[in-house]
């Protein structure tokens, strides 16, 4: 193989690498910028054809509550974007049951279809990732 061919081969292999990325969302929306930033980063990584999961635990479960109306705050209501994630092939949304229960929130109050998992299952999902980024 020529040097050029070898370089092309290496490049192709590099491009084909798909890693398991998990974005761990633990903050409520609007009070801080974390929730919105996490969502944007997840969308960016999906553009690179990675295997993306989103985890919602602790106050992060509040991000998915239905009926958010931000007119009074004069900030962007980014909650509809969670429903658009499917279009970017982000279909793995995990919500921790214990976090929902502590906050008196039911699955029916969430604005998108998710998989509700126990804290133990959540930790197993985390263990299975290549990269974990927390927000």
């Amino acid at each position: 193989m020529t040097q050029v061919a070898e370089a092309v081969e290496r490049e192709t292999q590099t491009r084909a690498v798909v890693k398991k990325f998990m974005y761990v969302n633990r903050k409520a929306p609007y009070g801080t910028i974390y929730a919105l930033e996490g969502l944007e980063v997840a969308l960016i990584s999906a553009a690179f054809d990675q295997d993306v999961s989103l985890a919602f635990l602790d106050d992060g479960v509040y991000q998915l509550v239905k009926g958010q109306q931000t007119k009074g705050l004069e900030v962007k209501n980014f909650s509809p974007t969670y429903r658009a994630l499917e279009g970017y092939d982000i279909e793995k949304l995990y919500v921790e049951r214990e976090s929902l229960e502590a906050r008196g929130i039911t699955e029916g109050q969430l604005l998108v279809a998710v998989q509700v998992v126990s804290a133990r299952e959540m930790s197993e999902l985390m263990e299975a990732q290549d990269v974990i980024i927390g927000f």
């Binding site: 609007y30 009070g31 509040y62 007119k71």
Partner: protein, 99 residues
Amino acid sequence: MLHIVNKSPYERSSLTSCLAHATKGGAILLIEDAVYAATRGSTAEAALKRAMRELPVYALGPDLEARGMQAAVIDGVKVVDYGGFVDLVAEHRTSQSWL
């Protein structure tokens, strides 16, 4: 004294500290992420209800609405708008923000 709290009760101890120091004659106003403390069925509900026997608790409406929590407010918590926020500050000789 008007006590203003703006942090989620699950993430910071601000509300707990506030409730331990607030006395009769005062009032508590929950804003930003602290409005989650004013919602039903949460683990923060009992402490807030205890406080409500001694002094009035208010929550900022626009912050509840932004978070989709307007229908989950605990009975007895008074929802105010920005004008109501200003009135509360004006009615009390001092206010304290529990950041």
